[in-house]
């Protein structure tokens, strides 16, 4: 079966919106509601954060959402349990808040994002096997370096049709970007500036130069810009130079303390997409 990430980028070249949320936040069992509402609101791809006690690449917003998610009891096992009906219609578990989605069975690419240690404790082989069986399309593990992936895990990912998504930053050398491009087959995650998540907002002249530089490299993989994308303006700006953009911290803030999760998600996505939002 064609990987849903490839399917998405083959059918849509511009303005791809990917949203990150931390599983287990704000409440343990919000996972399916959030996925469903993001899809219904017109998001193209969803990154499901697997919370970790020591998220090195994350700023205060995602650190805090991770802490709360862990306090709520989130684990990879539990998350996989929540996701088991995501591609099945009707759900096998009648109690689950699950599809049908308003646009039919979910075909949205789902990407798991998290740190290496919890994945290693789950077991890389089992993790890939189980994630793939649930219909997960890709994985982002910021602290799994390229070489380690190539030496130890690439064959496992490929066996289970999972895309490993690599990050590049303004400091990544051209040679290394070429190497990452060569070993990627989903998309490349462009970190917009030297920062942890949520630390900076806005896109300045330096970043535009960096975006142009990457654009001119004509990589074989699509690119998606993340870190510092928080509103319609930054989203549109990022989309001028890449196939799409990723929003994380701003979304976490938007649903923090939400009294009406569905409405808040809908309003947030509408705010990002502007007139493009599905109403």
């Amino acid at each position: 079966m064609e990987n849903r990430i490839n399917k998405l980028f083959n059918s849509k070249k511009k303005n791809i919106l990917s949203v990150y949320f931390t599983a287990g936040f704000p409440n343990l069992n919000d996972t399916l509601t959030i996925i469903q509402e993001l899809e219904n609101s017109g998001v193209d791809m969803i990154e499901i954060g697997m919370p970790f006690s020591d998220p090195l690449a994350d700023g205060p917003t995602i650190q805090r959402s991770s802490e709360i998610a862990l306090e709520n009891g989130m684990t990879i096992k539990l998350l996989f349990g929540q996701l088991k009906d995501i591609r099945i219609n009707p759900p096998s578990n009648a109690n689950a808040i699950a599809p049908p989605f308003s646009r039919g069975n979910s075909e949205l690419p789902l990407v798991l994002m998290g740190y290496l240690n919890p994945v290693l404790q789950y077991g890389m082989e089992n993790f890939c096997k189980d994630a793939s069986a649930l219909g997960i399309s890709g994985v982002i593990i910021p602290d799994l370096p390229l070489q380690e992936y190539l030496d130890e895990y690439k064959s496992i990912f490929e066996k289970h049709n999972l895309k490993n998504i690599f990050l590049i930053t303004p400091q990544t050398s051209e040679a290394r970007i070429r190497l990452i491009d060569e070993h990627s087959s989903g998309f490349i995650y462009m970190v917009s500036s030297a920062s942890t998540t949520g630390a900076k907002s806005g896109i300045g002249a330096d970043q535009e130069l960096y975006f142009k530089r990457i654009q001119s490299m004509a990589l074989k993989n699509p690119t998606v810009i993340g870190f510092g994308i928080s509103d319609n303006k930054t989203f549109s700006k990022a989309c001028e130079s890449a196939n799409g953009a990723i929003i994380g911290s701003a979304f976490i803030k938007a649903i923090d303390g939400s009294k009406d999760l569905k409405k808040d998600i809908k309003d947030f996505v509408k705010g990002i997409l502007g007139e493009r939002a599905l109403v």
Binding site: L120, P145, Q171
Partner: protein
């Protein structure tokens, strides 16, 4: 069996560089250059001059006569507590700051637990005229107030780490995040043999001066450069790495690493990683670490802020796995008792960390003719409040 790091940055099954891509250029620059810079003659000369004239090296190897009589054996104390700033930490910070300067960096960051590494970093930054920012857990800031004051007096900015357990692990997280946010001008001076390759190897090399001197001093004093036993405390493990370094390949020398058992290994309040830990990833390296079944890093406990770390350096994980070093532990109470004994018999107030190494003498049952070297990694000025409190108790 090799106990040194291999070309991929591993000690056996442990080590590596598990870092986000944002840190790759910095860590790679360091990996590419550290050995050639360290081996340069002018680097060696500058470092050795400073170690001699500024730190006061070689640190004495002191025959502790009354302690030896008490335990009916021969105990030598390697007096790292007599170094400038009061601990072994400065051996490493001096080496790294000279390296940072040669890499053209102008802003120095560090993490600290007990504050000894923070003070040693603030000191060398003042010496070199570089900006210094030290991350320290909020809990540690409270329990190590004198060291916070020292860092500030030396011109460092001390930033509290308020996430997680608010101790050394979280201070390290914050330092790493700062480095991600400031990749160009900033150099991260890690204080122990932890972190991504090449840090564990680099820090071990800078601390190896401890065992290099021990060998010479023992040869002078007893006509044999090899003791029967070397004992050192292990949090991340930098003083132990330095004290073991030149004995690693000499299997006749027993190496004993003493971890902090806290309130007891099974009490749920402990930092004895070799017993309680499993292989995993912490702060960029694969090593033994304390974690839940789901791979969340757990919060360790020790009365001693310098040992309150949920991992150990990958070199120690390897020494543990191969059996080259014996791993023991001492509880809070055992460490306090050992500290008081050293005060009473030798007139030396040890750091709480080093007191864990001393506490192992109770269990060692060394023979009368044996020679035991304890690495007295730091002095106890910073721990006076804890000592006074527990004396009253």
């Amino acid at each position: 069996m090799s106990y040194q790091v291999n070309e991929k940055g591993y000690y056996g099954n442990f080590g590596g560089a598990f870092i986000p891509e944002m840190l790759f250029p910095n860590v790679d620059e360091l990996r590419e250059n550290y050995l050639s810079i360290i081996q340069e003659e002018n680097f060696q000369n500058e470092l050795n001059d400073l170690l001699r004239d500024y730190v006061g090296r070689p640190s004495p190897l002191y025959y502790a006569k009354r302690l030896s009589a008490h335990y009916k054996t021969n105990i030598y104390l390697k007096r790292e507590d007599l170094n400038h700033t009061g601990a072994h930490k400065i051996n490493n910070t001096l080496g790294q700051i000279l390296l940072a300067k040669r890499l053209g960096k102008t802003r120095i960051i560090a993490e600290t637990g007990a504050g000894q590494h923070g003070v040693a970093t603030a000191t060398v930054c003042a010496l070199m005229g570089l900006k210094c920012i030290v991350f320290m857990g909020e809990v540690d800031i409270k329990r190590q107030a004198p060291n916070v004051a020292r860092m500030k007096l030396l011109g460092a900015e001390v930033i509290p780490a308020t996430s997680g357990s608010k101790t050394l692990k979280d201070a390290t997280n914050e330092a790493i995040r700062d480095w991600i946010n400031n990749p160009l001008d900033t150099y991260y001076i890690i204080g122990s043999v932890v972190g991504p390759h090449p840090y564990p190897d680099m820090v071990a090399r800078f601390q190896s001066v401890i065992s290099e001197e021990m060998k010479k001093q023992l040869l002078e004093k007893i006509g044999n450069e090899n003791p029967n036993v070397v004992i050192a405390c292990v949090g991340g493990g930098s003083n132990a790495a330095g004290a073991f370094y030149h004995y690693l390949d000499n299997l006749n020398v027993r190496l004993i690493a003493v971890e902090a058992a806290g309130k007891g290994i099974d009490s749920g309040h402990s930092a004895a990683t070799s017993v309680l830990g499993k292989p995993g990833i912490i702060h960029g390296s694969k090593t033994l670490l304390m974690q839940t079944e789901d791979g969340q890093i757990t919060e360790p406990y020790s009365i001693s802020a310098g040992l309150d770390y949920p991992g150990v350096g990958p070199i120690h994980a390897h020494l543990f796995e191969t059996g080259r070093a014996e791993f023991a532990s001492a509880t809070d109470d055992e460490a306090l008792k050992a500290a008081f004994l050293l005060c009473e018999l030798e007139g030396i107030i040890p750091a709480l960390e080093s007191a864990h190494a001393l506490a192992h003498l109770e269990k060692l049952n060394a023979k009368e003719q044996e020679v035991v070297v304890i690495n007295l990694s730091g002095r106890g000025d910073k721990d006076l409040e804890t000592y006074i409190k527990s004396q009253k108790g």
